[in-house]
Symmetry: C2
């Protein structure tokens, strides 16, 4: 196996308490951390054209969901295109999850064995099977820059013994994921996915700075253990023993109290390897992100900005705004007077409220855009604050602003 | 009354048979004709941000619907903003219909009298009333560049006597529309709508070339008469006797045979005033547009590009494409190889099909965008063909391409 090729490069450029600013370089893009990664579940960020993500929002990495893409359009289709980048036309980095979380949360009928998990597709009811090996094979075809190990995700309210059994399974699956991943980096599917077998690039969008398509994919391990600190430590130890390019914290923001999440982060994040990026999966609100950054987390993803945009809920520097509120009908001020995004520069609360009330698709488009802009801008300010050693007071003032909601 | 201020300027710059190329200048934009006007029913073109309409698609005029905007957000709200332009942030021209067509097609409960029509709102069931005077007052508040008279729209299958009675009512309503319109151009609501009473412009989008916000609105008359040629002639005579800035043909594309539409256009369009723009309301397909242009029509609007985009139907130079077709799943070619729009330059049939099948909003966004680009581009080519005296063969080749559909 030839594993000498570069996968990702990771460098901490500044710290402020536990908070870290860094630069994550993949074969396709240079990503400043802490970073928020917009979610493109089915190969598209809901309501947002890639053109906006590239230009104004400047997202350097987005998510794709293995479970969804595996079921539709299917891996044969994506292989035919030469990977998810060529299929979707997104030229910067993708992180793909392993499918585990969706199998355990979206499907009712499933049969779990040591080998893997059998389940029924939510799309057509067909019987399907995922295992660590199959997940790695799918993610090799997708050609994402960051691959996640296939983990078992127990319910948030699973007891101690069930959680321990689950994380032991996850640890064994992590080792199997790693073994198959390493094999794949030198065999054909990975090669196809990374574009070796494809001819010239018809797509006019240039590869991003830092692009190195001869590099291999990277693989992240996942730490489970729910709210049990000793199990979290066990999971961390077993995961770091295997060794990964980065480490994720799974199984949080799944219905537990906020205090549990912060307690787990307080405990586990500082113990995670300092020389690898730390990724908190599926989290969260602006408050959650800043709290997690202060505990040393570098990467985040969440559907909140786009999902809330579709339901008429906007994040602003002065707190949440419910666009349905009748008091906005005649308001010609922007959604967020402190926001410089293309939505806030141009459209009024009154107009956005009208579009939402009238059921116009552009309401979802514009609110999702603003919400993503808000998250991206918050992370940019976070990085700047860490670099100048001002993160504590930045976080205090920002969270204070969020609570000071005169509009809601 | 001061009616000396400029409303619109209209100039034919080339003719080719009955087909005309011209320039229509309003106080807000310079519009090359024949023109297709995208429909922004509720103050937004469905799925398309204004930024795309202004930049890539270069729409110089769009439609707003009086009926919809009257019911929601309501005229008080739009007056508060200083008109539809300031409310929506669209700085180029608006054409607003009179509300007549929607009242007669969308509402079940209505009571028609000489004075006007009482109906129930489809939004909240409330009792509402529209008359020629009220329609003019609403459109003055909206501040559109082109105002339509309030007409009665009989069902397409109304008999001869009913159609005649209806067009006589429409003629009386046209005279009342004109009288109230003229009054309004010098009184406060029109002044508010045109921005006289508003301060500086906060919106960074510059007014378009030809903008002259001191100019008044313009008013178009509507010719009815269904498929009865003698009634069409009567309606034309009564409408031109009143005198308008432009003339529309109503009551076509409402379920009648195509041959009826072409027969009416053959008969009536060449008799319409040569020194005023001719507008065929609510039409239609690419074929319809080219047929109507060849008979001397200058202006069109239709929901087809965006509505079809939402249902997965695309217009291409090789005919219609149904994006759901399974044969496109692995097709990496663009929707239309002859199209230079941002969707065709970047996205493949396979990816667009996937987005549509997966129910992603971006499918509607991208297909609506391409369809609008196709219509705008077709009209641009139409204008060029007329200018160089090549319209007959252009039309033949273009329609031939549309019929030559290998993809469907």
């Amino acid at each position: 196996m030839d594993l000498t090729k570069k996968s990702i490069d990771w460098k901490v450029t500044a710290t402020d308490g536990e908070a870290r600013a860094g630069i994550l370089t993949t074969r396709r893009s240079m990503i400043e951390t802490p970073v928020f990664m917009p979610v493109g579940t089915q190969g598209s960020v809901k309501g947002i054209r890639f053109e906006w993500l590239e230009d104004e929002l400047d997202a350097r990495i987005i998510l794709g969901n293995t479970y969804h893409l595996f079921l539709r359009p299917g891996i044969d289709v994506i292989r035919r295109f030469g990977g998810l980048h060529r299929f979707s036309s997104w030229k910067r980095s993708f992180l793909t999850d392993s499918g585990g979380f969706q199998v355990f949360s979206l499907t009712d009928l499933r049969k779990l064995t040591e080998e893997g998990v059998e389940f029924r597709s939510h799309v057509d009811g067909s019987k399907q099977f995922l295992s660590p090996e199959i997940s790695m094979e799918i993610q090799a075809v997708l050609g994402s820059e960051i691959v996640m190990v296939f983990d078992e995700c127990p319910p948030g309210d699973a007891g101690y013994d069930a959680t321990r059994a689950s994380l032991e399974m996850t640890a064994r699956w992590a080792a199997r994921s790693k073994a198959r991943f390493d094999e794949l980096q030198v065999s054909e599917p990975g090669a196809i996915a990374t574009g070796f077998l494809c001819g010239g690039d018809k797509n006019p969008v240039a590869a991003s700075p830092g692009s190195d398509l001869t590099g291999r994919q990277s693989l992240f391990g996942i730490i489970q253990g729910a709210g049990h600190l000793d199990l979290r430590k066990q999971s961390l130890d077993r995961t770091t023993q295997i060794g990964f390019d980065g480490y994720a914290i799974g199984g949080l923001s799944v219905g537990e109290e906020k205090s549990v999440m912060y307690e787990v982060l307080d405990f586990i994040a500082p113990q995670m390897p300092k020389n690898a990026p730390r990724y908190l999966m599926g989290v969260g609100t602006p408050e959650d992100l800043l709290e997690a950054v202060s505990r040393g987390v570098d990467m985040f993803d969440c559907v909140i900005p786009t999902r809330n945009g579709r339901t008429g809920s906007a994040f602003t520097s002065r707190g949440r705004v419910n666009i349905r509120n009748a008091k906005f009908a005649r308001d010609d001020s922007p959604l967020d007077p402190d926001c410089g995004c293309s939505v806030c520069r141009r459209y009024s609360l009154g107009y956005l409220r009208h579009l939402h009330q009238a059921g116009e698709m552009t309401a979802s488009i514009l609110l999702s855009h603003h919400n993503l802009a808000f998250f991206m801008d918050m992370m940019k300010k976070t990085r700047e604050a860490i670099r100048i050693g001002n993160f504590v007071s930045f976080r205090y003032e920002f969270l204070n602003g969020l609570g000071n909601n005169e509009k809601l």
